[in-house]
């Protein structure tokens, strides 16, 4: 049985921890709100972009841009891994890195080299630990404030590397924000650009049939060639936003659980404390009664 003093110290420590987790929860909540606003602000652009690109892609052929053509032999793959800079967000980063691990294993069995660009410290450390070559690292972006230029600069690098045949495919691993309670790791192929789906467009086309009759300047193919690299930036930016939002949501949930766990601990410790105190009082009373009896006699 722990002594009274020990239990008291433990309770104090747990209460302090609770204050910290609670504060971190609140910080994550407010950051999450900011990240969600950014996602909302990005949505109109992304939607319009996809719409225009979809209608263009229907008309243009594969020869419009080398970014559309799959390589016959894939020797090297570039993976952009988005993780957070900081921990304390439950399994968030582990989910992402284990997805990367699985993918890298699968590819290396086929004798394909895998290189990484890491967004976020956790992902970079993981690459280092596992000995994967790192093409570039970007810290202090995910989960913080960042602009579209980050995505366009590193997107440009990925596109250039692809065009220079440094690697034959580019993938991105990020965390999709589904709801406050659910964020799932996702993987997407960035390059070569997959045939752009026009599935969603079909329903829309009925309302806006003129979309197919755009006059294009300069030409359809040139326009498409100009838009495709941007399509990569847009996807990258979207993925970074999703990852940031997911990180904050994951941390919020983790910290909420931690706060609750602290409450539980304080409760059970208090019980132990009271029991020990009661035992102490009982023992003291026994002493007094015993002493009094002895004096009487």
């Amino acid at each position: 049985m722990a002594t009274l003093k020990e239990v008291e110290t433990k309770i104090g420590a747990v209460k302090k921890t609770k204050q910290i987790t609670k504060a971190m929860n609140m910080v994550a909540t407010s950051k999450l709100r900011g990240a969600q606003q950014k996602m909302d602000a990005f949505r109109p652009y992304a939607l319009k972009f996809a719409e225009v690109l979809g209608s263009l892609a229907e008309k243009a052929g594969e020869e419009a841009s080398p970014l559309l053509i799959p390589r016959e032999e894939v020797k090297k793959i570039h993976v952009i891994l988005c993780t957070s800079d900081r921990g304390l967000c439950a399994g968030f980063n582990t989910h992402l890195t284990s997805m990367a691990q699985k993918f890298a294993k699968e590819k290396s069995e086929q004798n394909i080299e895998v290189v990484f660009t890491a967004f976020g410290k956790k992902g970079r450390n993981w690459c280092r630990k596992n000995g994967f070559p790192i093409l570039g690292e970007h810290l202090g972006i995910v989960g913080a404030k960042f602009g579209f230029n980050i995505a366009s600069v590193s997107g440009q690098k990925a596109v250039d590397g692809f065009l220079d045949e440094e690697y034959d495919e580019v993938y991105i691993i990020y965390s999709e924000f589904i709801s406050m309670a659910r964020q799932t790791p996702e993987m997407q192929q960035l390059l070569p650009i997959l045939p752009i789906e026009s599935g969603e467009k079909k329903a829309e086309d009925e309302e806006t049939p003129y979309l197919a009759e755009h006059i294009c300047e300069p030409s359809t193919n040139e326009l498409l060639g100009d838009m495709l690299p941007r399509h990569v930036y847009v996807q990258l930016y979207g993925a970074l936003l999703e990852t940031s939002t997911s990180e904050h949501a994951a941390r919020m949930t983790a910290m909420d659980n931690a706060t609750k766990a602290c409450d539980d601990m304080v409760e059970s410790l208090s019980l132990a404390y009271n029991k020990a105190r009661q035992a102490g009082i009982t023992a003291a009373l026994m002493d007094i009664v015993g002493g009094a009896e002895a004096l009487k006699g």
């Binding site: 950014k38 602000a41 990005f42 109109p44 652009y45 992304a46 319009k48 972009f49 225009v52 263009l56 602009g147 579209f148 230029n149 995505a151 366009s152 600069v153 003129y210 979309l211 009759e213 755009h214 006059i215 294009c216 300047e217 300069p218 040139e222 326009l223 100009d226 838009m227 941007r230 847009v234 930016y237």
Partner: protein, 136 residues
Amino acid sequence: MAGNIRLEVVTPEASVVSEDAQIVVAPGILGEFGVLIGHTPFLTTLKLGAIRYKTADGVEKQVFISSGFAEALPDKVTVLAESAERRRDIDVERVKQAIKRAQERLASKKPDINYERARAALARALHRLKLAETRR
């Protein structure tokens, strides 16, 4: 001219303009073009420059944009730009700093800088400044 055309300027970070306009003039890659209501569906890449438009009550306004593209429909013009700033939002001090920074970078002749980007940054900043200094 009957009616106004809707102008939307969106960037990945925010929707900058959403307003009815009598006329919109934008810097297309093959030359500046004007859009009135009832325009044929039209799609073009845009150059660095300013979009000028006249609001429904006749006020002339300008928005600085760096590369992007525009889609004109009979009742709507949508501009997708990587960055956009209304003229009154341009911070002259910041722009001047950006010019200085870009010039220093171009002059420094270090091997590790990206000339392409520095030059683009300088062009953007100079354009912004020009736009900000046309009558306020």
